[in-house]
C-alpha cells in the first residue's frame, strides 16, 4: 500500500523543485524514444518526425529535380531522340507531381512539424502519433509512385491529370491509378498534419503568447494549415472519383453518361490554386523570420502582415477559374476571376513593402539566409508581375499552357517558396543539427542558384510568346525555339549543380560545421531559447511569453512556469486567444501502431488499385490497426 503510494508520489513528481540536471535526466527519460529499430520507428517526438519529414522531402526534391534535368536535356535540341514521348510524359508528370505533392507541401508541413511546437513553446506537437502516421503514409505514397515509375508504371498524364486523358479510356494500364492513389496518400497525410498544426497553435502556445504575439511564421503555418484543410478535400474527392471511374466504372467524368469533363478541372483547381498559396505562405513566414533576425529589428507591420496572410488565404479560394479561362466559360464569370486574381497582388504587395520597410536602413546582415531572401524578392516579385499578366483573360488566352506560364510559376514557386526554403534551411540548420552550415559554400550555392535559375527560366517567357506550348516532348527545328531552349538547359544544369552544392554543404556541415550554440543569429523567437539541437522535451520548463520577440525583450532571463510532471509526458494546454494555462494533459508515448496502421493503409490503397475489393478488406485491416493504436496499453494513459 505504501509502496504503491511511494511509487504514486514518485510518478506524480513535479518539476517544481528539481535541479536542472536532475530535471534534464528525468525529462529525457520520460520523453525519450525507446531504443532499437522498433523504438526508432515508434518515435513520436515532433523533432524526429520533422527531421525525417524534411529529409524525405529533400530526397523527393532531388528525384524530381533529376527528372527536370532529364527533360531539359531532351529539350535542348529540336527533335532530339534522347527520350521518347512515353518516358518524357512520365518524367514531366513525375516532376510536377513530386514537386507539388511530395516536396513542396510536405516540406512546408515538415518545417511546421519541426518548428511550430518550438516556436510556440511547447514540448510536442498535438496528436504526435497522428503526425507520425502521416509521415509514414507520406513516405509510403511517395515510395509507391517512384517505385511504380521505375517499373514503367509512372503516371503520364500530367500532375493535373485532366480527364478524360487520365480517365479509363485514354489511360490504359495502372499509371493513372497510381497517380490518383498517391494523391490520396499525400492528402491523408497533409490533412492530418494540418489538423495537428492547427491544434498545436490553438491550444499549446506557451502561457502569455496571445494571438498578437504569435511569430509570423507560425501565423503563416496556421493559415496554410487552414488552406490545406479546406482545399485538399477537393482534390481527394476528385482523385477518388477518378479512381472510381477507372476501377469500378462510375461516370463522374463521362460526359456521355451525364458526367462532365470540366467537373474534374473545377474540383482540381479549387484545390490547385490554394495549393500555390499553401506552398507560398510558409515561404513568406520564413522570409519574415529571417528579415526580422538579420535586420535585427521586429518586422515592420505585424498586423498588416498577419492580415495579408489571412486575406491571401481567403482570396486563394476565389481564383481557381483563372486556370480555366480557355475552357469557354461565360465571359462575365471569367472577368470576375480576373479581378479576384489581380486583387491578390494587393496583400502580396503589402508584404513585400513591409519587408523592405523593415530592411530599410537597418544595415542587415547579409548572411546566406538573407541572400536567399533577397533572391526571393528579386525573383518572386517578377513572378508576381507575370502572375498579374496571366490573371488577365486576354493575355492568359495567349500565354496559357505555354512556356510563359512555365516561367511564371517557376518564378513564383522557386522564387516564392524554394529560395525562402533554402534560406530557412541555412537559418534553422544550426538549430536542428547544432552546427552552422558553411557560409562560403552557401554564397556559392546562392549565386549559382540565382544565376542558374534566371538563365534557365527567363528565356521561357519569350519561348512562350514565340508559341512554344507546355508539355511537348520535342519541337521541330524550323520553329526557331532551339537557341533559347539550349540556353535554358544550360541554366537548368547550373541550377542542378547549385542544388548539388547545397546538399554537399548540408551533409558536410552536419558532421563538421561550426558548433552553433543556442542562438547563433541573435534571433528573438522561442525556438532559440533552447539548446541546439533541442533536447527531446524541447523546454525544460514552459516559457512564459510577454513579448512578440521574447528573447530580445527578456534579455538574459526567461520567465518560466513549473508544476508539470516529470515522469510522464505532460503538455500544457492553454486557452485559444489569451493562452492562459488551462490543462496539464498527457501526450502519447512512442508507439509502433502508427507505423503498422500506415502499412495497412498502404496495403489497402495499393491493393485496391489491382483488386477493387481490397478497398473493403483493406479498410477492415486499417480499422483493426486503429483499434490496436487507440486501445490503452497501460493505466497511466488513462490518467494523463
Amino acid at each position: 500500500m505504501t509502496d504503491v503510494a511511494i511509487r504514486a508520489s514518485e510518478k506524480d513528481l513535479r518539476d517544481t523543485d528539481l535541479a536542472a540536471e536532475d530535471l534534464h535526466d528525468r525529462l529525457s527519460r520520460a520523453w525519450g524514444a525507446k531504443s532499437g529499430l522498433i523504438g526508432w520507428l515508434s518515435d513520436v517526438d515532433h523533432k524526429a518526425v520533422g527531421r525525417r519529414y524534411i529529409f524525405t522531402a529533400f530526397v523527393f526534391l532531388a528525384l524530381a529535380g533529376s527528372a527536370a534535368a532529364l527533360m531539359r536535356l531532351q529539350l535542348a535540341r529540336p527533335e532530339s531522340q534522347l527520350i521518347g514521348p512515353d518516358l518524357y510524359n512520365q518524367l514531366f508528370t513525375m516532376h510536377g507531381t513530386t514537386m507539388m505533392f511530395l516536396f513542396a507541401v510536405p516540406v512546408m508541413q515538415a518545417f511546421a512539424v519541426y518548428l511550430a511546437p518550438l516556436m510556440v513553446g511547447t514540448r510536442n506537437i498535438a496528436f504526435p502519433r497522428l503526425t507520425l502516421f502521416s509521415y509514414y503514409v507520406y513516405v509510403l505514397g511517395g515510395l509507391m509512385i517512384w517505385v511504380a515509375f521505375l517499373m514503367n508504371i509512372g503516371p503520364d498524364v500530367g500532375w493535373f491529370a485532366y480527364t478524360p486523358l487520365s480517365g479509363p479510356q485514354f489511360s490504359p494500364g495502372k499509371r493513372s491509378d497510381i497517380w490518383a492513389q498517391m494523391i490520396t496518400f499525400t492528402e491523408v497525410s497533409s490533412l492530418a498534419v494540418a489538423v495537428s498544426v492547427i491544434v498545436t497553435v490553438f491550444k499549446q502556445r506557451a502561457p502569455g503568447m496571445t494571438l498578437d504575439r504569435i511569430p509570423l511564421l507560425v501565423w503563416a503555418m496556421l493559415v496554410t494549415s487552414f488552406l490545406i484543410m479546406f482545399a485538399m478535400p477537393a482534390v481527394m474527392l476528385a482523385s477518388t472519383m477518378l479512381i472510381l471511374d477507372r476501377l469500378v466504372g462510375t461516370h463522374f467524368f463521362n460526359y456521355a453518361e451525364g458526367g462532365d469533363t470540366l467537373l474534374w478541372q473545377h474540383l482540381f483547381w479549387f484545390f490547385g490554386h490554394p495549393e500555390v498559396y499553401i506552398i507560398f505562405l510558409p515561404g513568406t513566414g520564413f522570409v519574415s523570420q529571417i528579415v526580422g533576425t538579420f535586420s535585427r529589428r521586429p518586422v515592420f507591420g505585424y498586423l498588416p502582415l498577419v492580415l495579408a496572410l489571412v486575406a491571401t488565404g481567403f482570396l486563394s479560394f476565389g481564383l481557381w477559374v483563372h486556370h480555366m479561362f480557355a475552357t469557354g466559360l461565360p465571359q462575365l464569370g471569367a472577368s470576375f476571376f480576373t479581378a479576384s486574381s489581380m486583387l491578390i497582388a494587393v496583400p502580396s504587395g503589402l508584404q513585400i513593402f513591409c519587408w523592405i520597410a523593415t530592411l530599410w536602413g537597418s544595415r542587415p546582415v547579409l548572411a546566406t539566409p538573407m541572400l536567399f531572401v533577397l533572391g526571393f524578392l528579386f525573383i518572386f516579385v517578377l513572378g508576381g508581375m507575370t502572375g498579374v499578366m496571366v490573371a488577365s483573360v486576354p493575355i492568359d488566352l495567349q500565354v496559357h499552357d505555354t512556356y510563359f506560364v512555365v516561367a511564371h510559376f517557376h518564378y513564383v514557386l522557386i522564387g516564392g517558396a524554394v529560395f525562402p526554403l533554402l534560406g530557412a534551411v541555412y537559418y534553422w540548420f544550426p538549430k536542428i543539427t547544432g552546427r552552422l552550415m558553411s557560409e562560403r559554400l552557401g554564397k556559392w550555392n546562392f549565386w549559382t542558384a540565382f544565376i542558374g535559375f534566371n538563365v534557365a527560366f527567363f528565356g521561357m517567357h519569350i519561348l512562350g510568346l514565340m508559341g512554344m506550348p507546355r508539355r511537348v516532348y520535342t519541337y521541330q527545328p524550323d520553329l526557331g525555339w532551339g537557341p533559347l531552349n539550349m540556353v535554358s538547359t544550360a541554366g537548368a544544369l547550373l541550377l542542378a549543380a547549385s542544388f548539388g552544392l547545397f546538399f554537399i554543404n548540408a551533409l558536410v556541415s552536419m558532421r563538421s560545421g561550426a558548433p552553433a550554440g543556442n542562438n547563433p543569429w541573435g534571433a528573438g523567437t522561442l525556438e532559440w531559447a533552447t539548446p541546439s539541437p533541442p533536447p527531446v522535451y524541447n523546454f525544460a520548463r514552459y516559457p512564459i511569453v510577454r513579448h512578440r520577440e521574447p528573447l530580445w525583450a527578456e534579455g538574459d532571463e526567461l520567465p518560466v512556469a513549473h508544476g508539470l510532471m516529470v515522469s510522464q509526458r505532460e503538455l500544457l494546454i492553454t486557452t485559444l486567444t489569451e493562452a492562459r494555462p488551462d490543462l496539464r494533459e498527457g501526450t502519447p508515448d512512442g508507439s509502433i501502431w502508427p507505423f503498422i496502421a500506415a502499412l495497412a493503409v498502404a496495403v489497402a490503397f495499393i491493393c485496391s488499385i489491382f483488386w477493387a475489393i481490397a478497398a473493403v478488406w483493406g479498410s477492415a485491416l486499417v480499422g483493426l490497426t486503429l483499434i490496436g493504436w487507440f486501445w490503452p496499453k497501460s493505466v497511466t494513459e488513462d490518467v494523463t
Partner: protein, 337 residues
C-alpha cells in the same frame, strides 16, 4: 527580343509564330495588352528591386556578436521613423490596389472587344482528335460542306466562327499570331471567332496536353483573299481526282486494297473511313501528319512506311507494303490536289 526570322519550309518568307507579331485584331489587342502590362509591371518590378537594393545599403557581411543579446537596432527605431514607414507602406499599398484596378480595367476592356458578338461569316467545325484536327466547313446547303484536316483556309477580312469540339480528350486551339487559345472539350462545343486581316500562312498548335503526341499536333491557318478562298473551297468540294498515270492508278488500287482504306476517306472512291484525316485532296495541303512534315512525295512515303518513326504512339499502324506499292500510294496521294 530574339530575332525570329528563321527559314520556313512552307512559305520561305513568313516569320514563325509569335504572340507579339499579330496578324489579326484579336492578337493585336492582346499584344498591345501584353506590352502595356510588361511595361508597367516591369517598371514596378524594377522599382521594387532598386528599393530593395537601397534598403540593404551598408549591409554587414557577418553577424554582430552577442547571440541572445537584445539587438540595439530593435530599440533604435524611432517612433517618427515608424510613422513615416507606415505612411509610405500605406501609400504603396494603395498604389498597388490602384494599379491592379487600372490593369483589371484594361484587361476587361480588351476582353470585351475580343468577345464582342460579331456577325456570322464563315463557320467551321473543328474537331480535335489524337493527334490531328478534323475540319468541316459548314453550310446551310449540305452539298456545299467541305471536309478536310489540319489546314484551315480562311478568307481575309471575313469573320470566321470556329466551332470547337473534341472526340477523345481535351485539346486547345492556338494560333499565336492570330488568336489566343480556346479549348476543345469532349461533350461541349466552344466557339472562337477569328478575323484575319493579312493574307499568309500562320502556324498553330494544340496547347493542351493531349497524350503522347501532343508535341506533334500542329495546324496551319491559311488566310487568302476571298476569291482564292472560294476557288480553294470549290476544289475541295469536288471528288478526288482520278488517277492520271499507271503509277497513280496502282497507288489508288493499293490504297483500297491495303489497310489505308480502313481509316481514310477519299471521296469518289470506296474509301470512306473517318478515323484518320480525309485524304480527298491531301495533295493540296502543305503539311503532313498534323503540321509535322512538309508534304512531299518523299515525306508521304516516309510517313506511310514508318509513322511511328515520326510520331511514336500515333494510331496509324505500320503497314507492310511492297516498295513499289509504297511509291505508288505516295504518288497517288500526292496527285490528289
Amino acid at each position: 527580343m530574339v530575332a525570329l526570322s528563321l527559314p520556313s519550309v512552307l512559305t520561305g518568307c513568313e516569320r514563325w509564330p509569335d504572340a507579339l507579331d499579330p496578324k489579326a485584331p484579336e492578337a493585336h489587342d492582346i499584344a498591345w495588352l501584353i506590352w502595356t502590362f510588361t511595361g508597367l509591371l516591369g517598371a514596378i518590378w524594377l522599382a521594387v528591386v532598386i528599393a530593395m537594393l537601397i534598403a540593404i545599403r551598408g549591409g554587414r557581411r557577418v553577424a554582430p556578436p552577442a547571440a541572445g543579446a537584445t539587438p540595439l537596432d530593435a530599440l533604435a527605431l524611432h517612433p517618427a521613423g515608424e510613422r513615416s514607414r507606415t505612411v509610405i507602406v500605406g501609400v504603396l499599398g494603395g498604389l498597388t490596389a490602384l494599379t491592379v484596378l487600372v490593369l483589371t480595367g484594361l484587361s476587361y476592356a480588351t476582353q470585351r472587344s475580343l468577345f464582342a458578338p460579331r456577325q456570322e461569316g464563315l463557320s467551321i467545325l473543328v474537331t480535335g482528335k489524337q493527334w490531328w484536327w478534323e475540319l468541316q466547313y459548314e453550310d446551310a446547303d449540305p452539298s456545299r460542306i467541305v471536309e478536310t484536316a489540319n489546314e484551315i483556309h480562311v478568307p481575309v477580312n471575313v469573320p470566321v466562327t470556329l466551332k470547337l469540339e473534341a472526340s477523345d480528350v481535351i485539346h486547345s486551339l492556338w494560333v499565336p499570331r492570330l488568336m489566343g487559345k480556346e479549348d476543345l472539350i469532349p461533350g461541349r462545343q466552344n466557339v472562337k471567332r477569328v478575323f484575319v486581316t493579312q493574307p499568309g500562312v500562320y502556324r498553330g498548335q494544340c496547347a493542351e496536353f493531349c497524350g503522347q503526341q501532343h508535341a506533334h499536333m500542329g495546324l496551319l491557318i491559311v488566310a487568302e483573299p476571298m476569291a482564292d478562298f472560294e476557288r480553294w473551297r470549290d476544289r475541295q468540294r469536288a471528288e478526288a481526282a482520278s488517277p492520271s498515270s499507271d503509277e497513280q492508278q496502282a497507288g489508288h488500287d493499293a490504297f483500297l486494297k491495303r489497310s489505308c482504306v480502313m481509316c481514310h476517306q477519299i471521296r469518289g472512291t470506296d474509301a470512306g473511313g473517318r478515323s484518320g484525316p480525309d485524304l480527298t485532296h491531301v495533295g493540296s495541303r502543305m503539311t503532313l501528319a498534323a503540321g509535322t512534315l512538309p508534304l512531299t512525295r518523299g515525306s508521304l512515303a516516309a510517313w506511310i512506311v514508318d509513322p511511328h518513326g515520326v510520331k511514336p504512339g500515333v494510331d496509324m499502324p505500320l503497314t507492310k507494303l511492297e516498295p513499289d506499292e509504297l511509291n505508288a500510294i505516295a504518288a497517288y496521294l500526292e496527285s490528289l490536289k
